[in-house]
Subunit: 123 residues, 2 copies
Amino acid sequence: MPDQEDAADAMFRALADRTRRDIMRRILAGEHSVSALAEHYPMSFAAVQKHVAVLERAGLLVKRRHGREQLASGDVEAIRSVASMLGDLEQIWRGRISRIDELLSTETTRTTETTNHPTPEEK
Amino acid sequence: MPDQEDAADAMFRALADRTRRDIMRRILAGEHSVSALAEHYPMSFAAVQKHVAVLERAGLLVKRRHGREQLASGDVEAIRSVASMLGDLEQIWRGRISRIDELLSTETTRTTETTNHPTPEEK
DNA sequence: ACAACATACAACCATTCGGTTGTATGTTGT
DNA sequence: ACAACATACAACCGAATGGTTGTATGTTGT
């Protein structure tokens, strides 16, 4: 049972290579066979095929058989799910800001707190 | 002169580890010293310090000296820049859709093309 | 039927990664 | 002054990456 974090590992890792990001660009624009993709890169067909396999395992692309070729196309939903993780991170950051605002606006009012974390030990 | 793609490599790579993503969550919520962070993970201090260094090199966090400790906090702008790369990818995908729409709406009208790629050899 | 093509995959190799321990260097509190 | 703390960094190790070549297996066009 690969959980959410495993999926995140795989997706970020898959996107952490410029060749694979470039492949994603091409196959988000439209289907490409593996060998059609391979023509664009200064490496062996096998290397490109492995890159495609990495992207496929990460769920970032899907393949469809068409005769003797394998047509790859990008899965935009997977891209969105990665973006949403980053959105969650940004949301955590917004929380910091509002906590600071709260602090400033209640500077003298002695609010007995809602914080559950072990008190940010600001000396 | 590390370009945009190098930065992308570093950021995606840095985020492709669950410990580092967890560190980002903590330091986006508020500053933490390296040793305060280290307490949360089942690994040596040195390992956590290396994770922090990876995030710092990727530009995802900044450190500030405070006495003998080094306080780390997350850079939300870097997070946004990663998100925007994903947005660009999604945008490419939208382009495919509108190209398909165009195709459908001009099905019989013999449009002499705007495509510059070597013609998607749809048999 | 068969040569050429498209793909998959194994074996191998150098490099990077994520962890370890150990050591060095500042900073602090008493 | 000095012991304890916080950090940095080097050296090392096993596993994973990103590439290679070589081989096997389908699929196609003639």
